[in-house]
Symmetry: C2
Subunit: 309 residues, 2 copies
């Protein structure tokens, strides 16, 4: 099996899994999206930490990072449960359960509390139990790793709290994946003009153009299907809006991909891991989603405001 076939097959497997998770999203208190996010963000975090391990010059704190990564995801999850119970569409199992949720998730300030506690704990732990040499590096990569993988991916849980959030989630994920797919094939079969990037020397201008076009068509298609099947009531994006959001998503996809290349090149590795046939590691797979999922969410709430909140 050549690389392209491998890449397509494992991409389709993952896409099928993602669609299943989104289809059964509210099965038993949203446990499937939660598990998906935990597995993806913890795996990506471990890969990031492996890539940023510099031995005697500084090493990330794996367990501290993984613990706070989990706490951040669970914080957003508690926020989702609380939001939906308060919206009265669902009845909570018991008063105690709501009390527990109020304690765990007083508001978004609960997440900020976890973040502050994480920064200060990482620095204190480094000071108490680990070498002085490389201390700033060690604490710095421990913190940025969690922010880069888990804080970003946990934003997926916020989509379930806005009107037509499932549509927007599919819309953003599709746009991101098709930018990647379009860029890959356009680059492979049409690519002649090298973009001259040090961080990723094989990128071509034809690849970028292919990514943009594939992204535009795919997002137009998702919206068309959603309206046809009455999943959403009317179009959110007219043609101008669609061009703007495509530029935004395609640019973030390319940036996310190049940032991950930068991390690998700084670590002098080709793939982040060899977990997924044809793709490499988890980070290679989701590098663009780490940018498009959180920033796409904020784009949508800034663009549509009260219409979706």
């Amino acid at each position: 099996m050549n690389e392209t076939v491998k890449r397509i097959l494992s991409g389709m497997t993952l896409a099928a899994m993602a669609i299943a998770v989104i289809y059964w999203y509210d099965f038993f208190y949203w446990v499937l999206p939660l598990l998906f996010i935990i597995v993806f963000s913890q795996t990506a975090l471990i890969e990031f930490y492996r890539l940023s391990d510099r031995g005697a010059s500084g090493r990330p704190m794996f367990l501290t990072g993984m613990l706070f990564s989990l706490l951040i995801t669970l914080g957003y999850y508690a926020g989702l449960l609380k939001h939906d119970f308060l919206s009265e569409e669902y009845s909570p199992p018991s008063g105690f359960f709501i009390d527990a949720l109020n304690f765990l998730y007083p508001s978004d300030s609960g997440i900020l509390f976890i973040i502050v506690l994480f920064i200060l704990s990482a620095m204190a732990y480094q000071m108490m139990f680990r070498p002085l040499h490389g201390a700033i590096y060690s604490a710095g990569v421990t913190v940025i790793g969690v922010m880069y993988t888990s804080l970003t991916l946990s934003h997926t849980l916020l989509y379930f709290q806005i009107t037509d959030g499932i549509f927007f989630l599919l819309f953003i994920i599709t746009g991101t994946l098709f930018t990647d797919i379009g860029a890959y094939f356009a680059g492979k079969f049409l690519g002649t003009h090298n973009a001259g990037l040090t961080v990723s020397p094989n990128k071509t201008y034809e690849g970028f153009a292919g990514g943009f076009i594939a992204s535009l068509i795919s997002m137009w298609g998702v919206q068309r299907l959603a309206v046809n099947y009455q999943f959403i009531e009317e179009f959110y994006f007219d043609f101008t809006d669609l061009i703007i959001v495509t530029v935004f998503i395609a640019a973030l996809t390319v940036i996310g991909d190049l940032v991950e290349s930068m991390i690998k090149r700084d670590a002098e590795k080709k793939d982040s891991a060899s977990l997924i046939p044809g793709h490499g590691g988890m980070l290679d797979l989701i590098d663009a989603l780490l940018f498009t999922l959180p920033l796409g969410y904020y784009y949508i709430i800034i663009r549509f405001g009260n219409a979706v909140l």
Copy 2:
């Protein structure tokens, strides 16, 4: 003038400034606390960045960090303005002003948006405009610097939003400063048993004990005075509570101090800067407050809950 006298004089000058700021805290829309926090956190951030500059092996992004540091502080400031306008104690200047605040500070999620945007911008900026070598280090220290200095100090603005917040702010700051003062003098005049810490080889057990006792007495005194002058209605902390909060504040003060020593030793410097006579730099002065101010705030809202919110 010897070091101790210098240290006392500049400490007293700063304490007088802080008291003036707290006394006139609501002068023209809390502009004095805001300016104080901006100056302190930006100065501390620049010192942290100077200490973490490793030349060709990685350099923090000064301007990106300073910009997002300012945005985080302004985010908390917008939250304070909005909170107080909504509490109806003050009348806002105009409807436009409230609209602007709602846009700038939709909720604490506005701060989270700034943080996510900061992480991703720092990585993207590094990828686009800076060397590949040391990229992870550069992005990591840029991020942790802002979190360590500005996210922490900005919590000061949250104290103005809780019942008797000015009292709690004075209470925490006093406990922190007197831990430092007690530890300094007890260590200097009574210190014989070295605590054997690599990160700070001159610390003695007598110093820790002196810090704890000075902190306990000073916080007891602040509460006593506040009740006597009817600044607060009744005691928040009975004797047991006071012991617990003193252990908490004194431990965080020592940890904050040692974390800053770790940063300096990793950078192979003695002082963070030579800004303040007898103290060194801004970081040397406020290292403990970076831990006690935010975590003290969360301690108070978890301990007293609805009584202060």
